[in-house]
Symmetry: C2
Amino acid sequence: MRRTALIPLLVLLAAAPPPAIQSPGEIVAAAPASAWRAVDPDNLVLMDLANGGHVAIELAPAFAPAHVANIRALVRGHWFDGNAIVRVQDNYVVQWGGADEKKPLPAGVAAHLPAEYERPRAGLAMRPLGFRDAYAAEVGDADGWPVASDGKSAWLPHCYGMVGVGRDMPPDTGTGAELYTVIGQAPRHLDRNITVVGRVIDGIETMTALPRGTGDLGFYTDPAQRTGIVRARMASDVPAADRPRYQAMRSDAPAFAAYVDARANRRDAFFVRPAGAVDLCNAPVPVRRVP
Amino acid sequence: MRRTALIPLLVLLAAAPPPAIQSPGEIVAAAPASAWRAVDPDNLVLMDLANGGHVAIELAPAFAPAHVANIRALVRGHWFDGNAIVRVQDNYVVQWGGADEKKPLPAGVAAHLPAEYERPRAGLAMRPLGFRDAYAAEVGDADGWPVASDGKSAWLPHCYGMVGVGRDMPPDTGTGAELYTVIGQAPRHLDRNITVVGRVIDGIETMTALPRGTGDLGFYTDPAQRTGIVRARMASDVPAADRPRYQAMRSDAPAFAAYVDARANRRDAFFVRPAGAVDLCNAPVPVRRVP
């Protein structure tokens, strides 16, 4: 009886082939134009390194408007030109901008800013990730950014490649003149203890492969070990024809939902057991350079 | 009334100073000898790189006995000597041992092994981490190793620095001849899809700072870009006087509990808001070299 009852099902399966299994990368590659938003050139810092690296950083004014305004003024005031990467701590951060503590800040740059560790949850169109998080009650994505929340406040999490504002002990001592990016396991204990201002969207491998500093906290002990920053510019100040353009995947795009699902449930041939879940920092928002 | 009621409490606080706040590093530094177990030299691979790097890898026979035995035979059969690091994929893995696919495996090395993706949970003295995990129902530490579990099975998670066995599509194609270590956000979706055999306990920064490969999956496109492996030895084959010795913190040591608590609740001066939680891969088991 059981065999007979199965026949119609088998016939049905033969008639309708299963949907093609796509890897996360294939889903991203096949995403339609409508799945992407442009990275605003006024939120895009382009940094050229002395080792030939070209680093692109997207700023997040929706989360840290005062610090983003300060960073724009720092870039336009040539603060980073001739500055350097001063710290590379393995499995933690690369930090730059603090090559000369006596250098005065450019005109128009605030020397003290209020901490922008979090913002109201209200006003964010947050797509829930759909899986639990070790740190936050709620995680998801909004407007192409990963977001963590306690239901009332929301903040940018310290995932790989996120950019934060170095500070001294008092919370109002960060200006954006010294920045870092995460190069290891997401140090989420820094969330809500530091202002996060954006993320590296291109060229991070030119910073992550730098020699680790051997001083305390991975600082270089000899200035000669530092990697220089040739210059940093706002993309909006670069002639349009020379300007690299980037897009981030929209949080509300069906392709993004498919991508997160595929990250959580790898069905491509290599995998024998899909995880059935994904960590927020393991489903990084796809970003692409527009040719 | 309220002010008056407070006075005895204030007096009490003045009389009994609060306990000293220790950072995770200070707790580790102050841990007594009883908090540590030795790394068995027969589970310790010492690998010298052509860039001057010295890498120490602790093997985990409690989780992958057949693969660990194979790796010992590979090391003793000089498989890795003159081999190379062939792949560096940013925010993912460094991989070595696959420099020559035609090189025959040394005598005594099995060409096929059963997958060792998990083992029974029973028999492990697992200290619960005490915080939730995005991937597994239960996480914690046992005998100085991070462990994830579904209550029945247990496995080593893909945290930063963990070492896994490269394989082709069929699950029994990994031998240990090609190994990788994690150099980014823990790719936990690989858990239970690959045999994890150990972790790098020293020298990982000599691999993580290597240039990223530009081929598919971060493979180097030109063999000249590879970093050579001068030799690999089992520490137990090195004369005792020349042998580096390491210790891992015991999972059942009070100092380990204090360390995990401090990782979850940073109270040192920089922090304004302790996270109140920690991810398994953000509380790596302390390991130290014995002078």
